[in-house]
């Protein structure tokens, strides 16, 4: 098992972004899910396709049941999104190099115009966080007026997933560069973290020991999902209680 502090931060890992999610205060309200869809031009798929498991949530709130009535408990809500693995299982299986590791952001990126839709990556993702465009889902006029010009609109046959709002990262980096400084902690955040009314999601640089997300990620009770698979996820969870 690799603990976060054992991951050596070498020079080429600078610029590493990460997230901490506190399940104890997540209320499962779905504000992050809506915010993500609004920010990232995600299609809605309708009742039939969503019932078939084709909905395109880049982030979803998982909840499980423990026990039986009357001794039943809902497990702490678990927002599940791309863990931006340091050693991602989706990457080596792509025949088109569409899902690759970005050296600059230390993120797991999806290159839409390389993707040929084999769906190998989704099959190989232990977190089940990739969604596939099974159709060209129609967004009738004037809904497209809402499209975020910073995010590519995907079409049928393309795999997609959470990008850690890479468009916001780039915007903040460009702004910082033009002002000859580093990006400040908390200067910007992802759409999900920005919306979260409980502040259960914290995003930032995990290679900066001073950042809030680093401070939180190194608390003792943080866990990484399925870390025994050696995927080196960049999202830390607090289980709560």
């Amino acid at each position: 098992m690799i603990r976060p502090e054992e991951i050596k931060l070498s020079a080429d890992q600078s610029g590493k972004w990460g997230m901490v999610i506190d399940q104890d205060i997540c209320t499962g309200c779905q504000a992050c899910v809506a915010a993500c869809a609004m920010e990232n031009n995600i299609s809605f798929v309708g009742e039939a396709d969503s019932g078939y498991g084709r909905s395109m949530h880049w982030i979803r709130i998982e909840r499980f049941w423990e026990g039986e009535y009357p001794e039943i408990k809902m497990t702490p809500n678990q927002p599940m999104l791309c863990q931006q693995c340091g050693s991602a299982t989706c990457e080596p299986v792509c025949p088109a190099f569409a899902t690759v590791h970005s050296q600059a952001e230390q993120l797991n990126v999806q290159v839409y115009n390389r993707c040929v839709g084999t769906r190998y990556c989704a099959n190989n993702c232990p977190y089940q966080v990739r969604s596939f465009n099974w159709r060209d889902y129609k967004r009738p006029e004037p809904l497209p007026n809402q499209f975020n010009p910073d995010v590519t609109v995907r079409r049928r046959g393309i795999m997609e997933k959470c990008t850690f709002c890479i468009q916001r990262i780039h915007k903040a980096q460009d702004k910082a560069k033009s002002e000859a400084r580093e990006v400040l902690d908390g200067e910007f955040t992802t759409a999900c973290a920005q919306a979260c009314p409980a502040d259960a999601i914290v995003f930032g640089r995990v290679d900066d020991p001073e950042s809030l997300v680093s401070q939180l990620a190194h608390r003792n009770h943080g866990v990484k999902h399925l870390e025994e698979l050696g995927t080196l996820p960049n999202v830390t969870y607090f289980k709560g209680g």
Binding site: D22, D24, I25, T27, G28, C29, Q30, A31, V33, A34, A35, A37, M38, E39, F44, V45, G46, E47, A48, D49, S50, G51, Y52, G53, R54, S55, H57, R60, I61, R63, W65, E68, Y69, P70, I72, M74, N77, A122, Q128, W134, K138, P140, E141, P142, L143, P144, N145, Q146, F147, N148, P149, A191, Q194, A195, C196, P197, A198, D199, A200, G240
Partner: protein, 743 residues
């Protein structure tokens, strides 16, 4: 207000005092509308790739959260919370996020329409997702529309004219109130399904009885150590969910104290109860008894004389009637008594019963025992909003029934409807639909083609909230007294017109006392007249010497608020020294099951036409795009019911057919149905989807006049049919399940 003042000059001026903020005033007094240009033809104040941000107020519910909307080339791109606004501090709920899908909804009312009652307002299509779906065309111009409004004002007796309005926006309510006060028109009536399911009237009445003061209580969840909630779904839709969620977060994080404990008492585990450390599944109708029993046991545990209010209840009896073990009650009472920050909240379905007022009083009395009035983590009266002198209560269901009776008796000749959809939101048993037949003229100002607009003679559509001026008083949720300001963030997309402008123009046209009641050039001038008195108030978030600068700041920051705590401390001196009945509530109907209707946390009352809200999984069941009935798996087994089996539910008031969701966290004698779907109009994403549980609710009220919506007993019968529910759980990456057909 100079006409020569260019927009750019105005922005420069507005920027002087606030160079640090990126939020712009959308529209100065000189240029009242933002223009939407093709991407190729850029307005002078935008730069390619750079966004402009406007502060405004969310209209998805009446809480009044501040928004900052990102726009690009005159299009609204993304709504975020306004970090300056003390109510939501930069945060939003899912419905606030989806507000743009209302603005750009493919089914809106596109212009003034003279309409035959019952006619559709958009075409039908076999495949609503893919076929063309034209909206009804406008068939009259706005001059003619204004004329119609003016004539109906002028040609009817004032007492035969009525305004029925929603909980938002407040500025239009103020305008209609001013008009009514000056001309003798009946005072506008406000209503909303959320306020009905929140049981606001009961909460207010209980506070009045206990503290001798009218107002909306504020519960400081964040400062408490132990929170007992009786039915209040404060993490979903109750009163001000974003602010209460922040409070819950503080309760749990315990930055300055221990992690707080949260206990929820209700028959069905709501998504709020899902977050509780303990969920107490009491028998519906025994809430008052349980609250009083906990009070009595807590007093005993503290070793004090049992206060009069708790003296009459027998904890053994309460335990057996509520189905809670006596040990559990004792343990909860000790937890409550021994905490130095105990708080009890009454709300939601617990109050929507025949004894709802007793429940609210009993739970508020627990706070008196804890002695938390006015202390951190305690009970307060919410701060009154800046231009408000008394708490304004929306109409209770009982008052709405009286209103409907007035319609039936022919006492209302002209009905103006704005911001509310009574045909859908009021229980069918109240017969609003039938009463419309006795009203000779109904004028709807609906933005969307909703069920009430379908029953109107004219539809004079208001702008969408993001295209509108206005303000909303923050009724509860912030320490400070807050007036959230709204301004257009985009040009109106269609040929709609602000209802305030229509009323002002019509009043001018009608002349006489109408004209002198609303002596304004337009809505903006009216708004400025309403916010002008704030300039002389102290402790404001900003100050300005003249109204133009003040109004510019008001737009730029998204409202005006005080920087001091404006909450009042309830006087609880007599709260423990009275009697409250511990009797169980009465249930209408002789069915086997208690019915708990609850507001869908993702759709609420008006979200059904936004496709992404439909596709958000319900937080507890993960069902999307439909309505279901929750039944305990053990009960379902007894009745031979599997998931997706359609059952027929019969109450005194009506019949519904719904697919079963075997919900593991509900009492075996209780079923629950979400409210939010079941539209027969309201656009392609809402129509013909799910069912409306208000069809099952009869005309039963509690002592405060709120609807006893959770006071029904219903029959459940298997129909033998199946209807597959679309849900997120268990389907992720699994093929061969789901709707059961190949795609």
């Amino acid at each position: 207000m100079s006409k020569q003042f260019s927009r750019r000059d105005f922005l420069k001026l507005a920027g002087v005092g606030a160079a640090t903020t990126a939020i712009l005033t959308g529209c100065g007094p000189a240029s009242r509308l933002v223009r939407r240009e093709p991407y190729l033809q850029m307005p002078e104040y935008t730069y390619n790739g750079l966004s402009t941000y406007y502060a405004t107020t969310c209209r998805e519910c009446a809480a009044g959260c501040g928004l900052v909307v990102r726009t690009s080339q005159g299009r609204a791109i993304k709504a975020e919370g306004n970090a300056n606004n003390p109510l939501n501090l930069g945060k939003t709920c899912a419905r606030g996020q989806a507000t743009l899908q209302g603005l750009y909804n493919p089914n809106r009312v596109r212009g003034a329409i003279k309409h035959k009652r019952g006619d559709r307002l958009y075409d039908t299509a076999a495949d609503p997702f893919n076929d063309e779906f034209p909206d009804a065309a406008s068939n009259m111009d706005w001059d003619a529309a204004t004329q119609v409004v003016a004539e109906s004002l002028k040609n009817n007796k004032p007492e035969e004219i009525a305004f029925l309005m929603g909980m938002a926006p407040d500025h239009l309510f103020d305008l209609a109130t001013d008009l009514a006060n000056a001309t003798g028109i009946t005072a506008p009536v406000r209503f909303g399904a959320l306020s009905m399911f929140e049981s606001r009237a009961t909460l207010n009445k209980a506070a009045q009885n206990l503290f001798g003061q009218s107002g909306l209580p504020f519960f400081d969840v964040g400062g408490a150590q132990v929170v007992f909630s009786f039915g209040a779904n404060f993490l979903e839709t109750w009163l001000s969910p974003v602010s209460y969620t922040r409070g819950f977060s503080a309760l749990r994080e315990g930055k300055t104290k221990l992690r707080g404990t949260f206990v929820q008492f209700e028959a069905r585990m709501s998504s709020t109860a899902g977050k509780a450390d303990e969920w107490v599944a009491l028998r519906p109708g025994t809430e008052a008894m349980v609250a009083l029993a906990i009070g009595r046991l807590a007093a005993e545990s503290l070793g004090i004389t049992t206060p009069k209010v708790f003296a009459d209840v027998d904890p053994m009896d309460a335990a057996s009637k509520s189905g809670i073990k006596l040990e559990t009650l004792e343990h909860l009472a000790q937890m409550f008594a021994n905490s130095n920050g105990a708080l009890a909240i009454p709300g939601g379905a617990a109050l929507g019963q025949s004894n709802g007022l007793a429940v609210a009083e009993a739970v508020l009395a627990l706070n008196a025992l804890a002695g938390n009035f006015g202390k951190p983590g305690g009970v307060f009266f919410s701060a009154l909003a800046p231009n408000q002198t008394a708490y304004q209560q929306p109409a209770s269901a009982q008052e709405m029934a009286d209103f409907v009776q007035k319609m039936i008796d022919g006492k209302i000749k002209v009905l103006f409807v704005h911001g509310v959809n009574p045909v859908f939101e009021l229980p069918a048993a109240l017969n609003f639909m039938g009463a419309t037949k006795s009203v000779s003229q109904i004028i709807s100002f609906a933005t969307f083609p909703d069920e009430t607009a379908v029953e109107a003679d004219y539809i004079f559509p208001d702008h969408h909230g993001l295209e509108s001026w206005g303000y909303q008083r923050v009724a509860t949720g912030s320490k400070e007294s807050v007036l959230s300001g709204a301004q257009p963030v985009v040009t109106p997309f269609y040929d709609t017109r602000a209802t305030a402008d229509v009323l002002i123009a019509a009043a001018q046209l009608a002349g006489g006392k109408f004209a002198s009641a609303l002596p304004f050039k337009d809505e903006v001038e009216f708004l400025q007249s309403k916010i002008a008195p704030l300039m002389s108030e102290s402790n404001g978030f900003f100050e300005a010497a003249d109204i133009n600068t003040f109004a510019a700041f008001f737009q730029q920051y998204g409202g005006w608020w005080k920087t001091i705590d404006g909450r009042n401390v309830p006087n609880g001196a007599n709260a423990l020294n009275r009697s409250i009945s511990a009797a169980e509530s009465k249930f209408a109907g002789d069915g086997k099951f208690f019915l708990v209707p609850f507001v869908s946390p993702t759709l609420a009352e008006a979200g059904a036409n936004k496709p992404w809200l439909q596709e958000l999984p319900d937080p507890t069941t993960t069902v999307m795009w439909n309505t279901w009935v929750e039944i305990n798996p053990a009960t379902a087994d007894e009745m031979g019911l599997a998931d997706n089996d359609v059952v027929q539910i019969t109450s005194d008031a009506g019949v519904l057919e719904l697919p079963v969701y075997r919900y593991p966290a509900i009492r075996p004698d209780t079923i629950a149905i979400p409210f939010g779907q079941g539209h027969t109009a309201y656009g392609r994403y809402a129509e013909k989807r799910g069912a409306n549980p208000t069809d099952l609710i009869g005309q039963n009220y509690n002592e405060a006049g709120d609807l006893a919506f959770a006071g029904m007993k219903v029959k459940v019968e298997k129909t033998g049919r199946k209807q597959a529910l679309s849900r997120l759980e268990s389907l992720m990456g699994v093929y061969g399940v789901g709707l059961g057909e190949e795609h």
